[in-house]
Symmetry: C2
Subunit: 465 residues, 2 copies
């Protein structure tokens, strides 16, 4: 109930907002509430200024005329106990502490300060989010801390103990067409923690896929329980970092988290039926797959793309990840020969039929009809193309690419596109134009054959369980 | 002697050039000879046209008035025996067959055709490069098959059995500031093979670092010998693909190569003292390291960067790759506290001192003076920045970044910069501006902490042997 209110507050106060150039309360929170068209009431709080960005400020929470649901704190840690007292008096539901400088410092007095506010909040009616976190992204009501997060909502709910990961994952997944129901960066988790949030998202009808970046937990038993419940209802995908000693030390000085033993985590995640991923890149791949990939009949893959070296590599990468490439039989090779130039073609799977003079639609038809083709993987390497004549040749390439995507979609076979990351500045544009084509057609894309294959295998495994 | 001439020919004939829109002999070879300012004589050969691109054409090699050193063939495979006969009669040194459709097809008559030209060339004075390859990039004389390869030369010699890899590696490494002495894409290797080329580069005074992408060999014993000799003189870095059955099949249908057993390859490479890398991304990382990184005293690394999550991850990634992160002692933490804001800082290594209000130069001074700091790794994640106010904030970020790089250079400690790959189109520009700053200062950069650490460890291992 409180968490539902936290994601859908009717009013938000931003404490510490001013017109200072690098004032985070203003540039991260207040400005984004305005630019996202937040639907509720916005109250900047600051006893030292009259207004900020044309909005009237209030000296304190207690001076706000109406009720205040959600309070965002951008003030110093030492001032937080006082603010919390006011939140309790005002009857606020949640206090989000962007404010850092608590237990994550490892300093005794700062740990005590964190404990002090936890004790004060207990049974007070106010729940604390953070400290040391970015807070809430809830596109439905227009709550965001980043100006370029999508304004439309989707079906992924994401919780992140790291503020950076919340940015990297939402931006990265959005660039692939994924959209979010809710997202929360929850930092030190002194009160609202990963268990509360996973339980909430598990029951949230707006969330169909759950993702989480977790550095540690204080309650392994409860985590196991909520994780198992959530994963019995929807896919739950988890990044758990801190494999090494240095990583665990890092987690501790980041959010004060007890990282715990890696094998224990692995067991908890597996037993719960959740999916563990290595890092945010893989999380984005898996989210993209769950959102856009159609479930193939099996793992038998046909790889198509230009370039012999990349084709050889893609065969290695597919098999390493658990996909299967069957050898195209001689009769079919002869049939493919009619549609593609003889010289320079590879027709054994991987298939490389070159860029020019190919009846691509027929190649795809022939391959799609083959019983050993459950899915297509189309690999594109912008750094090997277009090399002669940037202008004309490039337009020609892009036009053909648009046609090819349509051919794959028409084939009815699940298709994944790999647009390899590029080094050249000039090739970035090719990468992005291709990606936009994929989004337009609802075709998932990835940045390497291995990462595509790995995500697809996890997706198939999930559905086979 | 012949190979030296192949990389430095006094005259080049391009056979099959015409003004057709997608004529590869013209757009890949002839046009690039002109645009690169090739220093020798250029002879387009075509019996059906009078001129191409304003240059007079000759009906055949035999009609060229002066001597012809290097011949590039863009004509059909069936016409190659005749062309080879003319090359022999003319006294050409090398025939580069861009032409494909030989043994890589796996078809009997095409394998025979390849054998026919090999037999004909034997002891004829003409060496064959290819077939099925892109040929030579030799910046010193202005020979190139790609318009955006660098025009200036460097110290890396690279041989690639794959044309795609030749493009991806030269473009990718160039984008990081690496430059090449010579590069050759050698395809089916029917005559000039990896052994000839490695032997040549091993003795080439213009080449200080050798790189190779190899799909297979016909002469394991000789390969072992030339590799050992070359690696005794200079670093030799090798991509050998085809780990899996599908990969080996791919290699065979790509260049007709016998991929061989992976463990045997591994042993040959190790015993020779060469460095095996996984793929082109790692090759580019290692080349960048050998070209720009200063040899550190040891593996003790200090990681600096913004963002808690990425910092935790970087600790994991460094240790996984073999670098060592020591815990910053309490006294030093207290010293660092004077230079950075208390809240939100991580001061234990990884170090995250946030973006604002930091005396960065002093932070670096303090860390550089620490005996447990052999090298710096600075990680930058453009997808977590700049988030408020693209315009002003971004300029501020870039100005600070320029200052910070200077601080690292001044510290005297070997420094690697990691600019994480980005998903957002808007962040690409930040990535590139940062990379250009690094190139300007001769500081190597990488696209992930793991890949940086892995390359640095291989570099240290090489020098410790």
């Amino acid at each position: 109930m409180t968490l539902d209110n936290m994601f859908n507050p009717h009013s938000v106060a931003v404490v510490g907002a001013s017109s200072g150039t690098l004032n985070p309360a203003t540039i991260i929170f207040l400005n984004n509430l305005v630019s996202f068209g937040y639907k509720g009431k916005i109250y900047p709080i600051n006893p030292n200024v009259e207004e900020v960005g044309g909005m009237k400020t209030y000296p304190s929470i207690l001076d706000v005329p109406g009720p205040v649901d959600h309070v965002i704190s951008g003030i110093k840690a030492s001032m937080v106990p006082d603010l919390l007292r006011q939140c309790i008096a005002k009857g606020a539901h949640t206090l989000h502490l962007y404010t850092a400088g608590f237990a994550e410092t490892g300093e005794g007095d700062r740990c005590n300060l964190q404990q002090e506010i936890v004790d004060m909040a207990k049974n007070s009616g106010v729940r604390i989010l953070g400290p040391n976190c970015m807070g809430i992204y809830s596109p439905k009501v227009g709550l965001s801390f980043c100006p370029d997060f999508p304004k439309d909502m989707g079906k992924v709910g994401f919780i992140s103990q790291s503020g950076s990961y919340s940015l990297v994952v939402v931006r990265g997944a959005s660039a692939r067409g994924v959209r979010f129901s809710k997202m929360v960066s929850y930092g030190n988790a002194c009160d609202i923690d990963e268990c509360d949030l996973l339980e909430y998202l598990g029951n949230d009808p707006e969330t169909e896929i759950i993702a989480a970046y977790i550095e540690g937990t204080r309650d392994g038993l409860r985590l196991r329980k909520v994780l198992t419940e959530a994963a019995s209802r929807k896919p739950v995908i988890i990044i758990k970092k801190g494999h090494t000693e240095a990583g665990r030390r890092g987690a501790s000085s980041h959010t004060g988290a007890l990282a715990g033993d890696d094998q224990t985590w692995d067991a908890i995640i597996k037993q719960a039926g959740a999916i563990r991923v290595e890092d945010f890149e893989e999380l984005i791949d898996v989210l993209t797959t769950f959102q856009f990939f159609k479930l193939p009949k099996g793992r038998k893959t046909v790889v198509i793309g230009i370039g012999g070296g990349p084709s050889v590599r893609s065969a290695d990468d597919c098999e390493r990840a658990g996909l299967v490439l069957h050898h195209i039989p001689d009769e079919m090779v002869q049939e493919l020969r009619k549609t593609a130039p003889f010289a320079g073609s590879m027709l054994r799977n991987p298939v490389d039929v070159g860029a020019y003079h190919v009846e691509w639609s027929r190649v795809i038809d022939v391959l799609a009809a083959w019983p050993e083709c459950d899915l297509f993987l189309w690999q594109i390497t912008p750094d090997i193309e277009p090399f002669p004549d940037e202008g004309m040749y490039r337009q020609w390439c892009m036009d053909r690419r648009a046609m090819f995507i349509e051919d794959f979609v028409k084939s009815g076979k699940p298709t994944a596109v790999v647009v390899h990351m590029v080094e050249r500045r000039e090739a970035m544009d090719i990468l992005h134009v291709t990606r936009e084509l994929c989004i337009k057609h609802g075709v998932p894309f990835y940045s390497s054959v291995y990462s595509a294959a790995r995500a697809i295998v996890k997706f198939i495994d999930y559905h086979n369980r």
